[in-house]
């Protein structure tokens, strides 16, 4: 390859595409199903139920503190499958790359995907790369889809929250969204805030071992904790009450939110989960989560209630009560 930039030819399906695949993708994603380079991947799977999910990643900037679009694309789909209570097994990766994109950056991204897949214990078994003319996409977009197998005794769904359930969050909120925001053009913050992007499937497996009857698992990504809790309350037709003083927020994240007028409850997370757990098992599950590398700041932030079905209420730090609505539109920095 005599160029350090992605050319339209790299997506032509011809010799240069082949070279891109064999030089960059194959060595990183190395696994038997992929290395056959057939049109699709063939793999064994236990019979029973499967979970299947897909997501597209168009994040800007593509590199940010603590991660990049590559690990995000793998962790995101791994987590979506894990939130069904399933064990993620195989992923696909489709990339749409802008002509002129740096091959070095592509290598970094692919490497990050491979590393994330390894940590999650999944194989990227099939993929696709397209190159589009400059300006047709912003640098690189990645789609991943994945399948996972669902253990027989697990029944996790947003519909299953029941009055009395405890609401668990697996760690500090708003880290990812604020890490991205502090990197955006025009904001010159010196901060240590990093994305929380992480695979949660191992944590989920341990949680379900502790309590197979966990009712709901959700990862509060875009729209944040507030939006996800509203979805759960709506689907389950129950109320949810959370406590402001229990919400774990890193002090620096809280500070930046304060300055920019953002509510951490509405800011995206990429390595956190919310769970609705039968109250008698809540403490045990909390201990399990706290012993996981991605769960040390976990805590119980509230409970599922019978009153106000479909709504989320927050008891404020000073003892007041207010409703917590879904995010409507993008949070925009305030004027004063």
């Amino acid at each position: 390859m005599n160029t350090d930039k992605i050319l339209l030819d790299h997506g032509s399906g011809g010799k240069m595409s082949h070279e891109l695949i064999t030089r960059i993708l194959l060595p990183n994603f190395d696994n038997p199903a992929l290395s056959l380079l057939d049109d699709g991947a063939v793999f064994d799977i236990n019979t029973g139920k499967l979970a299947f999910s897909t997501d597209s990643y168009v994040i800007d900037p593509i590199f940010f503190p603590g991660g990049c679009i590559g690990d995000l694309a793998v962790n995101g789909t791994v987590n979506d499958i894990a939130m069904c209570g399933a064990i993620p097994l195989y992923l696909s990766a489709g990339m749409i790359i802008e002509e002129g994109f740096s091959i070095k950056d592509l290598e970094k991204i692919v490497h990050a995907m491979a590393k994330a897949a390894k940590e999650a214990g999944v194989d990227i078994v099939t993929g696709d790369t397209k190159v589009v003319p400059k300006g047709s996409v912003d640098k690189i977009f990645i789609n991943t889809a994945g399948v996972g197998s669902l253990p027989d005794n697990v029944n996790v769904s947003g519909h299953r929250a029941m009055p009395g359930d405890k609401i668990l969050i697996s760690g500090t909120i708003a880290d990812h969204g604020m890490a991205i925001l502090t990197q955006r053009e025009g904001l010159s913050f010196d901060s240590e805030i990093k994305t929380d992007s992480a695979p949660l499937n191992h944590m989920v497996k341990k949680m379900l071992k502790t309590c197979p009857d966990i009712h709901v698992l959700r990862d509060p990504t875009r729209g944040g904790v507030a939006t996800t809790l509203n979805e759960i309350a709506g689907q389950s037709k129950t109320g949810i009450r959370i406590y402001e003083d229990k919400l774990p927020v890193r002090p620096d994240v809280a500070g930046v939110c304060e300055l920019l007028g953002f509510d951490p409850l509405y800011v995206a997370n990429e390595g956190k989960l919310l769970a609705a757990i039968p109250s008698d098992a809540a403490d045990m599950v909390l201990d399990t989560v706290k012993n996981d590398i991605y769960g040390k700041d976990a805590c119980i932030i509230g409970e599922v209630t019978t009153d106000h079905p479909g709504k989320v209420f927050l008891q404020t730090r000073i003892g007041g009560t207010r409703i917590v609505d879904m995010l409507t539109g993008e949070q925009l920095p305030r004027i004063c």
Binding site: G186, L187, F189, S191, D245, P251, D252, A254, G255, V256, E258, L259, L260, G261, D263, H308, K311, L314, Q315, T316, R317, I318, G319, G320, T321, R322, I323, D325, T328, G329, Q331, L332, P333, R334, I335, C336
Partner: protein
């Protein structure tokens, strides 16, 4: 970046203690207007209403800068964004505000170059980076924002950045209070004065309004403890029938304010009449760029025509901004007007009364 010193103003024990005193002292039904949009949001976010007795009604005033920006001003921003070689550098809040037939957000989707900045100085950076473009900053805000915009204009002049311009739609708070008190049928027993504005203009700036109407006035900060303390002081004044101009935010607000900020503001802006959305023309309530700085005044330098500006039919923003109605009393609220599809600006801005009700009011 941690803001630790705020904790004491959020202390539940202190808050409950003050709330308890308010409950004890409040005997008569009163209507208190929090003038500032940031107060409105903080009151909702902290659930302060749920701590107050039924005797106290809190009304939101005309203190959200986006909300009081007149429709023709919004249309001006939109028309300017359509001109050749123009980059609009705007605070985020403004993007969704509907004009007569469009919004900056819709114009951006249509390919106009509209960028969100976090500071006016970011707009200056754009001017340095793009000498072939005209960078236009929509200047919306009260006495809190105006000095920074003035300082930016001074800096642009110093650097000869003649591609930087401002459309000044700045407004002044004290004349608006005067205008409110003159509205027929207005029913307000006390003003919770805005904290940030008071930091700049100082308590004395409210002297003329207070002396004219003898209405209880207390300046307050934005933390729950600050707001509750401000309300307590107002209730004491009202119950004891001794109207005063008082300061519940002495850690930030002084009698004279910030003289340097006021000086810069006076250097760059002339006081002028201004059109407030829903209220109308208010004498001496606006800030226009002085002739001396005409080179930075987009209204003078750019050529554009405005569409017919009519405020949307049925929108009660005007009555809401003056405390005559609350959002659920508007026929459009939660029906045709939502944060996703706002009809009036009070539903758009994060500080807007309708947006606050929509997000936090259980009704």
């Amino acid at each position: 970046m941690a803001i630790k010193h705020l904790d004491e103003y959020r202390d539940p024990k202190i808050a409950k203690q003050i709330a308890g005193q308010i409950c004890k002292k409040s005997k008569n039904k009163v209507r208190i207007m929090e003038v500032c949009g940031t107060h409105t949001m903080s009151i909702f976010r902290n659930g302060i209403r749920s701590l107050l007795p039924d005797t106290i009604d809190l009304l939101s005033g005309p203190g959200c800068p986006v909300c009081v920006t007149a429709q023709e001003e919004i249309d001006t921003f939109i028309e300017v964004s359509r001109l050749e070689n123009v980059i609009i550098a705007s605070f985020g809040d403004l993007l969704k505000v509907p004009g007569a037939e469009s919004s900056l957000m819709a114009e951006r989707a249509d390919g106009k170059d509209i960028r969100i900045v976090y500071s006016t100085f970011d707009a200056l950076d754009l001017a340095r980076k793009h000498p072939d473009k005209k960078i236009v900053f929509p200047g919306v805000g009260f006495e809190t924002t105006a000095p920074v915009v003035a300082a930016t204009i001074l800096k642009a002049r110093q650097e000869n950045l003649d591609n930087f311009m401002v459309i000044s739609a700045h407004k002044r708070v004290p004349p608006a209070l005067d205008a409110l008190m003159n509205i027929d049928g207005i029913n307000i027993d006390g003003f919770l004065l805005p904290g940030h504005v008071s930091v700049i203009i100082g308590m004395n700036a409210y002297g003329p309004v207070f002396n004219k109407f003898k209405i209880p006035c207390v300046a307050a900060g934005f933390e729950p403890g600050d707001i509750l303390y401000g309300i307590l002081m107002l209730i004491e004044q009202i119950e004891e029938n001794r109207p005063k101009l008082e300061n519940a935010y002495p850690r930030a607000v002084t009698a004279d304010g910030n003289p340097q900020a006021v000086k810069i503001m006076e250097q760059v802006f002339d006081i002028t009449e201004a059109n407030w959305r829903g209220i109308g023309q208010i004498h001496a309530s606006g800030l226009a760029i002085k002739e001396e700085f005409a080179a930075f005044d987009a209204r003078k330098r750019l050529d554009f025509t405005l569409p017919d500006s009519k405020e949307p039919k049925g929108c009660a923003c005007g009555e809401i901004l003056t405390g005559m109605k609350i959002p659920p009393e508007c026929g459009l609220y939660k029906k045709r007007c939502t944060p996703v599809n706002p009809v009036g600006p009070c539903m758009v801005s994060s500080e807007g009364t309708c947006a606050a009700y929509y997000r936090y009011w259980d009704g």
